[in-house]
């Protein structure tokens, strides 16, 4: 795993993570990312929200972007400061249509998939897709829970 950390201002920090596109590496990366956020004071309900959203985004990158191929690489950049947490996850896949309507919100989704993006949208304050869906940006403000 590649880690590169830099200070981007007072009480702000940025770190890049890279890991192989399989689930075992994904879980290890998720735990390292959360350790990084914990070290910068992310805890409590805020931590749970970010953890669940991060888990879903990383799982999408590995399962869909990498097809669970460990020779492929998922990259994640995490920026944290006193005001907000920003996470960018990039996978090498072709992307997807984030407005395809696969995320049903009326309780009629009786399949075993299709809830990950719905959770991400509700648990984070902002979420956007770039590069045809192969890059997701997530933002969580910290002041809600202060």
């Amino acid at each position: 795993m590649l880690n590169a950390e830099s200070s981007v201002g007072k009480l702000a920090c940025s770190r890049e993570f890279a890991f192989a596109g399989d689930t075992s590496a994904m879980f290890a990366a998720r735990d390292r990312i959360m350790q990084f956020l914990n070290a910068h004071g992310v805890d409590g309900e805020l931590e749970i929200d970010v953890l669940v959203a991060l888990q879903e985004a990383l799982a999408n990158a590995v399962l869909h972007g990498c097809a669970s191929d460990p020779t492929k690489t998922v990259r994640c950049t995490v920026d944290v400061d006193d005001a907000e947490i920003n996470i960018v996850i990039r996978d090498p896949g072709p992307g997807f249509d984030s407005y395809s309507g696969s995320e049903l919100e009326d309780g009629t989704n009786l399949t075993n998939h299709g809830r990950g993006i719905l959770l991400m949208r509700n648990l984070m304050d902002e979420i956007s897709y770039h590069h045809h869906g192969s890059e997701v940006h997530m933002k969580k403000f910290r002041h809600h829970l202060d």
């Binding site: 309780g107 989704n109 009786l110």
Partner: protein
């Protein structure tokens, strides 16, 4: 990690879950245990489940559909506040049969525990 303790009665079985129900071995273990039960009433007790993700939610929906297909009943008991929040976000409260204050209906004789 997920530990499932099986409490079997005459017509109902309670699967007392402890840990997390997430993508991977944990969710698949609970699926195998639940779908192998012969009882017509299956209670998945989540009182000690600290974390769930979309895969875990999808598993509960799968089990709900599995129970319906065999004219059985699946109940979800005692979800934590964090899990209840995920149910609310995904509107699964209206789909799954959820008991928020279910009592323990089993004794400890004949129980078996499996860990994933």
């Amino acid at each position: 990690m997920l530990t499932v303790t099986v409490h079997s009665g005459l017509s109902a079985v309670t699967l007392l879950c402890h840990g997390r129900i997430v993508l991977g071995l944990e969710a698949e273990t609970l699926r195998c245990i639940a779908t192998s039960r012969p009882e017509h009433r299956v209670i998945v007790d989540l009182r000690d489940v600290c974390r769930m993700d979309a895969s875990g939610l999808g598993l509960l929906v799968d089990l709900h559909c599995w129970a319906q297909q065999r004219a059985a009943e699946l109940r979800i008991a005692n979800p934590s506040s964090e899990v209840r929040r995920l149910f609310a976000i995904t509107n699964l409260e209206s789909v799954l049969g959820i008991d928020h204050a279910a009592q323990r209906e089993f004794d400890t004789t004949g129980q078996r525990a499996m860990t994933a």
